[in-house]
Symmetry: D2
Subunit: 121 residues, 4 copies
């Protein structure tokens, strides 16, 4: 699996080279990239727009390939934004995960979808 | 830098454990996760909503920290969706990057932001 | 019902006055307003993020009031964008509805959610 | 101008008939419609993705027509959601506008884009 061998840094560098060779740093501003991520997120949603949540769990292979590409686009722009902001994405993600672990204590939220504010009462 | 040492697989596994310990697989369906990514993308955009594209390049440190967290949330849900779909995210990203390299030939698009359809004419 | 008596023009004018009195035309550019609509749309989605499609049909009164406010925010920004673009919104909507009527012939699409491309084959 | 003569009720009824004739009420659930609005909002944003905020104020006629259609799609789904929720949209919008007038006192926010929390200090 490529996921076992690929670091965020490798992906960030590949994306930085892609942007640089096209002189696209001028367009890849944080504001524009935030829009780009949202636009790609919507293209991902389009695949699920009219499906029940159940049906979205059993997707035909062709849909899966398309969905993978939309998901890739989202992460690609997230990598470019990390580059533009000089952000260590892994560190940021790991810190946010730790915050979430504290915010949603597993014994309190198990099997429940309510937002965390409900559990602070 | 954590990005140089962290693989996608490590992040995916940490997220899978977080979801599993809370029995949240039932909520983390592909449909719901596509909405979650879009929601977090909008929270990221909120930081840039009223800024000029120029101003978005010079952010105060406090804003940068908040923006990092929003970006982390987006990628966290993207990891969870990869888990839900059984997707090798790195492979998908690398394949999409290669497709983009072919779609936007650097000598034709250098310094231009037009969509690729313009260059196929 | 206010909907029976209120024209789009009345709402557009009320919004134009609100923006003008605050000298917010400088921020209410088409680009920024498109982001604003997307941000409010995400806040609306947040109410449905973890619900099944079925459950979203039976909302408690408190949720309904909050959801109404989010929906209002979306249309409010749509009104402001119509003002910024000098657009006759009703005319545009009616034209688009007529286009949709032709695009989705009722005898072909009845009870089906597939996108229109399927029906053109 | 159609906006001077068209009420929200007329548009809501036209949309309700469109949905009913296609037996699409089953798909037009609040959850799905919130996704639809967000998807259309992203299609609107796509027109502005790489433009400066300034450039977004001077759009060619062809772009304007396309943008109008995307904006129409957003409002069309907002009308359908109002129908699905049994919501008086004008009343909701007018109430929200009044709330905004109080939330953003014109003498305090004139010419400023900061969020309202800054003014409550």
């Amino acid at each position: 699996m490529a996921d076992s061998q690929t670091t965020l840094q490798q992906l960030k560098e590949k994306m930085a080279a892609f942007v640089h060779e096209r002189e696209w740093e001028q367009f890849h501003t944080p504001k524009n990239l935030s829009m780009s991520i949202a636009i790609e997120a919507a293209e991902l949603m389009e695949h699920f727009q009219w499906l029940t949540t159940e049906a979205s769990k059993n997707l035909p292979a062709e849909a899966l390939a398309d969905i993978g590409e939309e998901l890739a686009d989202i992460v690609i722009y997230a990598l470019s934004l990390s580059n533009a902001l000089g952000l260590d994405l892994s560190e940021t993600i790991l810190a946010k995960m730790d915050k979430n672990i504290r915010k949603y204590p597993k014994d309190k939220v198990r099997g429940k979808s309510h937002k965390y504010t409900y559990y602070q009462k």
